[in-house]
Every structure is written in C-alpha cells, then in structure tokens.
Amino acid sequence: MDAFASLIHGFGVLADPMNIVYMCIGIVLGVLIGVLPGLGGANGVAILLPLTFSMSPTAAIIMLSSIYWGALFGGAITSILFNIPGEPWSVATTFDGHPMAQQGKADEALTAAFTSSFVGALLAVIVITFVAPLVANFALRFGPAEFFAVQLLTFCSFVGMGRESAFKVLAAMMLGFALAAVGMDSVTGELRMTYGTVELMRGFDFLIAVIGLFGIGEILLTLEEGLSFRGKSTSITMRSVLNTWKRLPKFWATYLRSSAVGCWLGITPGGATPASFMSYGIAHRMSKNRANFGKGEIEGVVAPETAAHAAGTSALLPMLTLGIPGSPTAAVMLGGLLIWGLQPGPMLFIEQKDFVWGLIASMYLSNVVGLIIVLTTVPLFAAILRIPFSIIAPVIVVICCIGAYTVHNAYLDVVIMLFFGVLGYVMKKLGYPLAPLVLALVLGDLAESSFRQSMLVSQGSLSIFWSNWLVGSICALAMLMLFWPLISILIDRLRNGKNRHQGEATRA
C-alpha cells in the first residue's frame, strides 16, 4: 500500500495552483497540436521543450505530459470529423468514426472516442501507479550489463515486432546511434565524426531531428496528397453525451481487452499506433456486430481509442523506471529529463519522489480535465481545421524553425532540421520506421556508456551478457526478437512443407 501513500503525496504536489494552470495550458496546446497536421505529440513536445527550461522540472513535466495527453485526445477529432487522422495512432479511428459522422452521429462518435481514451488512460495510469514502483525497486539491482541488456531488448523488439523490413529497421536505428555518437565522446574526450568542423562538435540534437523528421516530413507527406478540409461540423450537447455514456458500459470487455493490448504495447516499445490497429482487429474478430464494422460501429471507435491512449500512457512506465521510453514522445520527454538534470531510471523513485509522484498524480487529474476540455471545445477545434492549408502550412513551418532554433540558439540547427525533414519524407515513403531512429538518438549515449561500463567490468569479454540468469534471459529474449523475422520465415516454411505432405497423403 506504499503506492497509495505516495500517490496521496503526489496529489499534494499538485496542490500548487501553478501546476494546475500549466496542466490546462498543456492540454489545450496538446489538442491543438493533435488536430493540426504536421504537428504531433513528439515534435510538439520537442518544440515546446525549450520553453520549459526556466520552470521547475515538476511543473515542466506536468505541462509536457499534458500536451501529450491533449495530442492523444486531439487526434480523434480530425479522424472522426474530417476522415484525416491527425496522428498515426488515430488512423484506426477513422474506419468507423468517420462513417458515424457521415450518418450524422458525429457527437456520439466523438463522445465515445473521448470517453474511451479516458478509460484507456485511466487503466494505464492505475497500472503505472502499482507496477512502476515494483519495477523500479527490482531495477535497483541492475548493473550496467543489465541496463544494456534491457536497452538491447528494446531495440531488438523493434526488429521483431515491427511490420517494416528488418533491414530497414536496423538501418534507421543505427543511423540514430551514429548521429548520437557525433561530437565529443564523453569518456575519452575525443572528437568523433566531426570531420574538422566546429559546428558538429555539439553533435546532433535529438530535438532538431524530431522536429524535422516528424514536423517538416509530415507536412510534405500531407501536402503530396493535397489537403482540403471538408468535414462535418458538430457540437456536443450534454444530452448526447449522457445518451452515449449509457451505451458504453456494455463494451466493458472491449475496454479491458483494448487496455491490456495497449498497456502491453506501450510498455514494450510497440507504441500507440500498432496498439490501436491490433485492438481494432481483435474487437472486429470478437464482436457480435462484426458485419457492421467499417460502416459506423461504435465499438470500432471504442477499441482503437482505448488502446491508443492506454499505450501512450503506459509508455511512460519504462521511461520512469528504466530510463527507456516506450514511444517517440516519451523519448523526447526523457531527453527533457536529462536536460533538467534528472537521471531517469530506478533512482528517480528514491531521489525525486516529488517529481515522480507529482507526475503520476497529474496523469489522473489531467485526463479528467482533458476529457472535460475536449468535450466542451470540439466546435472550436473543428473551426481551426477550417483554416485553409495554405495558411496553416507556412505557420507550422515557421513554428518548426523557431523550435529548432531555440534548442541551442544556433542558426545551423534550423538548416539541419530542414534536411531531416526531407530525409524523414523520403524514409517514410519508403517504409523506414522513424521511431527506432529517434529512440536510438535519445538513448545512444546512455546505451553506449552502459555497454562500455559492462565491457570494463568484464575486460572486453561479451560473456558478461550471459553471466547470470537475469542478464542472460534478457539477452536471450533480445536475440529471439532480433532474429524473429528469420525464425518466422523458418516456421512458415516448416508448416507449409508439412501441409504439402498432408495434401499429398490425402490425395494418395
């Protein structure tokens, strides 16, 4: 019951009215970011991160995480009203959400989406409250080898669980590590890969990369299809909210299933996007109204939204306890922790109790506040979407440039950001995943230092990663994940071979 006491302590931290103000600002900004194309959770947080340098870390993380929750809520608005997913994780919401809006049931779809997001997030926060201290406690026993093993597992799971080609996942990931290594080596003080230039001594900042890859890259992709917002307008009345709420409890099984899927994929670095698709697929298979899916079935809105929000929220669990973010946005926040001078990892739960429990308590409150804000302000945000793209696009580019500049007050960073934008556009079109790149860029230095420390302990022998059952089993799991694409090909071959034999046998 320690968790309860700590949680109450966390609510005490929240009693500072400024924290509540930052929370509300964060949510409104977040919804705005989620609604606008080209601005998403990851680069929205990246752009606003420099603004928080002067705040206390607790106030800053509350505002940034509120932006994240807001962005998760906001993605649903564009999906349902305009059939344009504001965020990748709300693609699955368009399948049934937009048909509902076309049938004039936009208010129902939006209420269902927001409520499901809320329920998903709430269940995930409960998981964080009770599981995170246990994980952190366990991780206190970790040495450098164990930390590197966990990082290895994180990166290998991208290969094993991603739908992209394993080669491409690896290439993108290693590009991230390579970019992270540019600049001064923190151990030997040697300059790496600067090729004699002073500007590169600073290295590549992940914030610049995130703003370019996700911001400019996304704008270019959106632009290519040509963007015209012609959507349904709606407002939500109290009556329609209550009517929809009456219908929702019968989907309790969908809620539980989707939250479980979401929490699992959020904690392992699957992220919110696969979670929403997987949850939609499962709901489709298990539902009684299977035939109605894709034509405006409310359960088809409930399932992906619950999972996306559960995944987005639980992505913070490994970030806080192990220092390993479960999603690109969590990765950016982790970078923020490092900038504020906090070392993410199990010690955070001991040394920074105010920070950790203030954040966890704020998750409860900000999701309640978020639900109220989005339910009441939908018409406002829908109106923002009616601003033509030829105004929105240059403004977003300007904001991305300002965001890139403020990181180091360096003009060159803005140019680099734009190149990352072009790179992001091409990579995305060719099916290279961007999440492992960002995670590798953020974690690169941490992963390298834990690798080097373990190498120092073992005097350069890789056997340290199999030296005890804990590190050994994590590494074995990581290898399984890494070679999963190969293994699954083998399994397919074997099974097909067997089927052919059986086919021949029956024919004979």
């Binding site: 080669f167 290594a181 963007l227 015209s228 300007v398 300002i402 803005v414 734009l418």
Partner: protein, 176 residues
C-alpha cells in the same frame, strides 16, 4: 468559402506522371546510408576501435554501429537490386512532387533570408508569399495574416518568454 484556397496537386491532362521508380529510390537511399555508414566506420577506425589500456577506445561502439548500418543497408540494396519482381511503381507522382518542391524551395529561401533579416521579417515574407502564390489570396487578405502571426510570435518569445530569436536590422532600428 475556404475550398478555393486549398492546395491540391493539379496536372494538365495527358502529362506524364512518372518521376522515378520506388526501386530506384530504394537503391539511392540505401546507397546513401551505406556511404554514411562508411564514414562512421572510417572515423571510428581513425579514433581507434580497439581496446586501450583504460578500456574501450572512442571508436569501439560507433564502429559496430556503422558496420551493422552498412550491412543492413547493403541488405536493402541487394534485395532491391537482385529481386525478380522489382517494385517499378512510381515513387511520387509528378504533380505531387511539383507541389512538394513548391513548398520546399521557398522554405530554403526563407532560411537564407532569415540569416540576413532575422526570423520575424523573413516569416512575414514567407507566410505572405505562401498565401499569395499557393493559396491565391488577394493582397488585402494576405497582409493582415502575414503580419499579425509573426507579431504574435514576437510578443510570445521576445516579451513573454524572453527567448531571443534571430533578429535583423529592422528590429535593431526599432530598439530591440
């Protein structure tokens, strides 16, 4: 109504939409990554990728990063080069590419202009140009939007948050 100011790819009838095949682009990008990986490995060997008396040298970790990146990109390269059914679909339709370039080119110019006149004046020009050229807005509608947004940003950054952004001669003349 807003729809006439939407930015849509447009093409003259009969105009060819082909630019480059997806396979060609795959080869270019994975080739580029192989070159990048080569640079990473080259530099790691330069700073030393072995074992010094005090532990791993600075290039120890990046060398393997470069090696894996090289092998993985070589894999993508080989798959696309040797496959029996190459993906010959169009990487990007010409009309879409034109639109993307129409946004990218002014953005690069914007960065160049920003270097000399500061971010605020450059933003006024950039937003204005974008609205008039791509959005086909009349001047009377363009000017208020293009001026007010950078002004709001000026207030937010220079006055409210005290974060200095690049400024040019105009701001200096006004005393900032």
């Amino acid at each position: 109504m807003a729809s006439e100011h939407d930015v849509m790819p447009s093409s003259a009838p009969g105009e060819s939409q082909t630019t480059i095949t997806t396979r060609g682009m795959e080869l270019i990008l994975s080739g580029f990554f192989m070159v990048v990986a080569g640079f990473v490995m080259y530099d790691s060997v330069r700073v030393g990728n072995g074992w010094a008396t005090d532990g791993p040298e600075a290039g120890y970790f990046p060398f393997y990063v470069g090696l894996i990146m090289f092998l993985a990109s070589a894999g993508t390269f080989a798959v696309n080069l040797l496959t029996r059914k190459p993906d010959l679909s169009n990487f990007v339709a010409r009309s879409s590419l034109v639109l993307v370039l129409k946004v990218l080119a002014p953005t690069f110019v914007y960065l160049g202009v920003m270097y000399f006149v500061g971010i605020y004046v450059a933003s006024i020009l950039y937003i204005g140009l974008f609205m008039m050229w791509l959005g086909k807005y009349p001047l009377a509608k363009t000017v208020p939007v293009a001026v007010l947004i950078p002004l709001a940003l000026f207030w937010l950054f220079e006055i409210a948050f005290l974060i200095p952004l690049p400024k040019g001669p105009l701001e200096t003349a006004l005393g900032f």
